[in-house]
């Protein structure tokens, strides 16, 4: 290789790695990204972006089926074609991946195709080449889908699949059991239900979306039930009989064992870290007791000059968290002093319908921490805009500290919750209290008015309920 010395070498071109590369390049660092697959990582190619394309198909289908007539639109028989929707989602991913490639080129980041292995002393081997970094090697290798072998569910790509295969199906299965009701499982339940599959959602914890506020979980459980999705919460898959044509699952719930048959099983119960064969031990990079790469407050690993960002650096495993870590590390490496990341202020979104978005603490967490809090709530049934657009499912819930008015947490279930949560992210980032939220005049009629009303409700001053 002509030039094998860089300031910064980043292993992985996903949302953590490529954003780190852009920021490092902006700050004048000579930067390389090593990527064995497509740029943009899971997020762009086989995660966030294509799933949103499919979810949009699902949303439009449900809209036409359930609401067109009421809205004065007559449509004929609605026919669903997963293959067409999938091919559109591939195009979207393709475009986005090309976009990342363009951005890296624009910022003069060198992209090295291949699998990088860490060597001691800030060096990286790619194939037969050895690259060295004068400032840092940044690990951003992310995660991959995995099965649930303890329940007999190894991914075979046909009857037992992961999100990777689900995003590439040609047609929707007649029936599908989804194991794991976190955001990935819930989103696929939404998609396959809209495309006509018989969907069973299985969650080992006591409720679906177990990390969200209990009110959000129950709102989605209710909405899913209405749409014919079977939700089994507090249910454990104990055994699986797998054939090429289908899977029979034994599911234990409330002391009873059910048998469940499905054409396909989608395993969405956690992801595996891409750390094997990366050369961590040889380079002196330790892993935490939970298996993540051990990092300090500056995201530096136990090896001098080796950093870790994104999923491998610890939860939450979210693209936007990884990107921010990439920015912060790049700024540290360029000698700046970026504001520390506030891990308690990272929004979390599930893009089912209605969407679920949250930031900060859940009400349960407030109780566990024995915080003196007040709840403000506003349901969309009381919102003029929501009634006008037939989007009255959901609510805004704000948890505030009673004494100082600090926004401890906020939870939104709404058709556009993913777009609304940032008012609260911004408020919390700037330490606004519920009073500053309420002080800002909200346009009428909008769904966002519900945020101001929930803030008011937490102060016992709600106007429209």
């Amino acid at each position: 290789m002509a030039n094998s010395t860089f300031d910064v070498i980043i292993l992985g071109g996903g949302p953590a790695g490529y954003v780190c590369a852009i920021r490092a390049a902006q700050l004048g660092l000579h930067t390389a990204v090593v990527e064995k697959d497509k740029l943009g990582g899971i997020c762009v190619n086989i995660g966030c972006i294509p799933s949103k394309a499919l979810l949009h198909s699902a949303y439009v289908a449900n809209l036409i089926r359930q609401e067109a007539k009421d809205l004065g639109i007559t449509v004929g028989q609605v026919e669903m074609d997963f293959g067409t929707a999938m091919r559109r989602s591939r195009q979207v991913s393709e475009q986005n991946s090309k976009g990342v490639e363009f951005l890296l080129k624009k910022h003069k980041v060198t992209v090295i195709r291949g699998t990088g292995t860490l060597l001691a002393g800030r060096k990286v081997r790619v194939g037969t080449d050895v690259l060295s970094a004068t400032r840092a090697v940044v690990l951003a290798t992310g995660t991959r889908a995995k099965g649930l072998p303890q329940a007999g569910l190894e991914i075979n790509g046909r009857s037992v699949i992961s999100s990777d295969e689900a995003l590439l199906l040609d047609r929707a299965p007649k029936s599908i059991a989804i194991v794991g009701a976190g955001p990935i499982g819930v989103e696929f339940a939404d998609v396959f239900n809209a495309f006509g599959s018989q969907v069973t959602l299985i969650e080992i914890l006591p409720r679906i979306l177990p990390l969200e506020d209990a009110d959000s979980s129950s709102a989605i459980a209710k909405s899913f039930k209405k749409r014919g999705i079977t939700c089994l919460a507090g249910a454990k898959v104990t055994k699986a009989r797998v054939s090429e044509q289908g899977v029979a699952l034994e599911v234990e719930a409330k002391g009873k064992t059910h048998t469940l048959e499905a054409e396909k099983v989608l395993v969405a119960a956690g992801r595996a870290l891409n750390l094997d064969g990366l050369g961590l031990e040889e380079a002196g990079v330790n892993r935490s007791d939970r298996g993540f790469v051990q990092v300090d407050e500056h995201l530096q690993t136990t090896a001098q000059g080796v950093y870790a960002i994104g999923d491998i650096a610890g939860p939450p495993m979210l693209a936007h968290k990884g990107s921010r870590e990439g920015i912060v590390v790049a700024e540290w490496l360029a000698g700046q002093k970026p504001q520390p990341i506030r891990y308690d202020n990272i929004p979390s979104v599930t893009y089912c319908h209605p969407e679920v978005a949250s930031i900060g603490l859940t009400e349960e967490q407030c109780q566990e921490r024995k915080l003196d809090y007040a709840v403000g709530r506003f349901p969309f049934t009381a919102s003029g805009r929501a009634r006008a657009t037939n989007e009255t499912d959901g609510f805004v819930k704000i948890l505030r500290d009673k004494k100082y008015g600090e926004i401890l947490g906020a939870h939104i279930v709404a058709s556009h919750a993913s777009e609304m949560i940032h008012e609260l992210a911004l408020a919390r980032a700037n330490e606004y209290t519920v009073e500053e939220i309420e002080l800002a005049v909200h346009a009428h009629p909008t769904l966002s008015e519900a945020i101001a009303e929930a803030a008011l409700d937490s102060l016992d001053r709600v106007l429209h309920i």
Partner: protein
């Protein structure tokens, strides 16, 4: 063998001593432990003992001269011993005064209070620059004038807790003060209540956080070595008056004074407010479990503050008796160093001189002193009528590096509540 007689550090704070008179004359035989001379220190007249045997061969510092600690004042040697080399070589061999001071400094570790400001500026600028890019180093007007940048939540917390934002360096975007900064600021004040303190030691040394250092430096720059602020509270003394009369009607000696009652109340209140029972130690703050009250006593040419040790655990009568005894011996300048050092808080009372209220100057390294005014009948609104009640005004001087406004205020509230209901002493 010849022995040098040097000016010794006869009290922890002593830097120099005045030789009042020599009790041995040149040529007189001397045994180890004999008193050679009387030395007046900053607090009392002390005795300078002989460290060796022989004859007082030479008096170097005459009576009336003032000599820094560590300097040669005389020589004890055998009658026939040649001391000319000692006399000639002494000047070069003398330990520098500063070194002697350091070596003889009190066993309590750390720099004594007054030295702290000299240390702080040296180490502080780097940390201040790191914490607050906007450079809050400007010594002028710490709390007045310029409104500090702070998040709405930080403002709210500061308002509710009575914290002065001007004293808090911000670490948010553009040096803005955010919640985290306030949490760090109050952490030091909160620590004393924490469970993990070494009980056996009788005190706890809490290292200074960067913010506490910055506060200390900035206050010191603007207000002098000890950044004082003052809190005044009005106390209704009717019930304390009745209680004292009832006690003294028992006919026991000594009679209880208001000062005794105040010493007792302050000691018990300090037990509840450890944040005010502390020493500023430059690089850390020492919070005491024990309460030793210094009571300022006027002496002929100044004042001295004898200490009522464990005042919180002593009865009023014990306090009364001890205060009389200490004050009497203070006036005769007979106090031993341990009797006027080691107080954790002080009281100064000018009430008997008809002073309505005044501010007392803190006795470093202590963090607070309470100034007691006179008890005078005052008109007080009681509903729509005016009643005449006996009132007393207390003014607490606080070292802001240790005690924040609300901390001092809460302590004074307790003091007032106890004085207004003196039964609280036995509660």
């Amino acid at each position: 063998m010849a022995t040098k007689v040097v000016m010794e550090a006869l009290s922890p704070t002593m830097e120099e001593g005045r030789l009042v008179r020599w009790l041995k004359q040149e040529g007189e035989p001397v045994r180890a432990g004999d008193v050679l001379a009387e030395v007046e220190t900053d607090k009392a007249v002390m005795e300078l003992p002989a460290r060796g045997e022989g004859v007082l061969r030479k008096v170097i510092a005459p009576a009336g001269s003032t000599v820094p600690v560590g300097q040669l004042v005389g020589i004890v040697a055998r009658p026939d011993e040649d001391i000319s080399s000692l006399l000639a070589g002494t000047r070069a061999a003398e330990p520098p005064a500063a070194m002697a001071r350091a070596a003889s400094a009190s066993p309590a570790a750390g720099a004594p209070g007054p030295q702290a400001p000299a240390i702080a500026p040296a180490s502080a600028p780097a940390s201040a620059a790191a914490a607050a890019p906007e450079s809050p180093v400007t010594p002028a007007a710490p709390s007045a004038g310029r409104k500090p940048k702070a998040s709405p939540l930080a403002r709210r917390i500061a308002r509710e807790r009575g914290l002065d934002l001007a004293l808090v360096p911000g670490s948010g975007p553009g040096g803005r003060i955010i919640k985290r900064d306030l949490e760090r600021a109050v952490a030091v004040a909160a620590v004393p209540a924490g469970p993990a303190r070494p009980r056996e030691a009788g005190y706890q040394d809490v290292p200074l956080t960067q913010i506490r250092k910055t506060i200390a430096r900035r206050l010191a720059e603007s207000l002098g070595p000890v950044p004082h602020f003052f809190l005044t509270v009005d106390v209704d003394m009717e019930r304390a008056w009745d209680a004292r009369e009832a006690l003294n009607a028992l006919g026991e000696e000594p009679k209880i004074t208001f000062n005794d009652i105040i010493v007792k109340v302050v000691a018990q209140a300090l037990k509840q407010h450890r944040a005010c029972n502390a020493w500023w130690q430059g690089e850390f703050i020492r919070y005491f479990d024990e309460v030793h009250i210094g009571v300022a006593v006027a002496v002929e040419d100044g004042l001295i503050t004898p200490v009522i040790r464990h005042a919180d655990r002593k009865s009023l009568r014990e306090i009364a008796r001890e205060t009389r005894d200490l004050a009497e011996r203070a006036r005769q300048r007979k106090l031993k160093p341990e009797e006027y050092t080691g107080s954790t808080f002080s009281i100064s009372n000018l009430g008997m001189m008809g002073i309505r209220e005044f501010t007392a100057v803190i006795n470093p390294p202590e963090a607070g002193i309470l100034a007691i005014g006179s008890i005078t009948p005052q008109p007080v609104a009681e509903g729509s009528t005016v009643a005449i009640r006996r009132r007393m005004r207390l003014t607490m001087s606080c070292d802001h590096r240790v005690i924040d406004g609300a901390t001092g205020a809460r302590f004074l509230q307790t003091v007032r509540r106890m004085l207004e209901n003196p039964l609280a002493i036995v509660w």
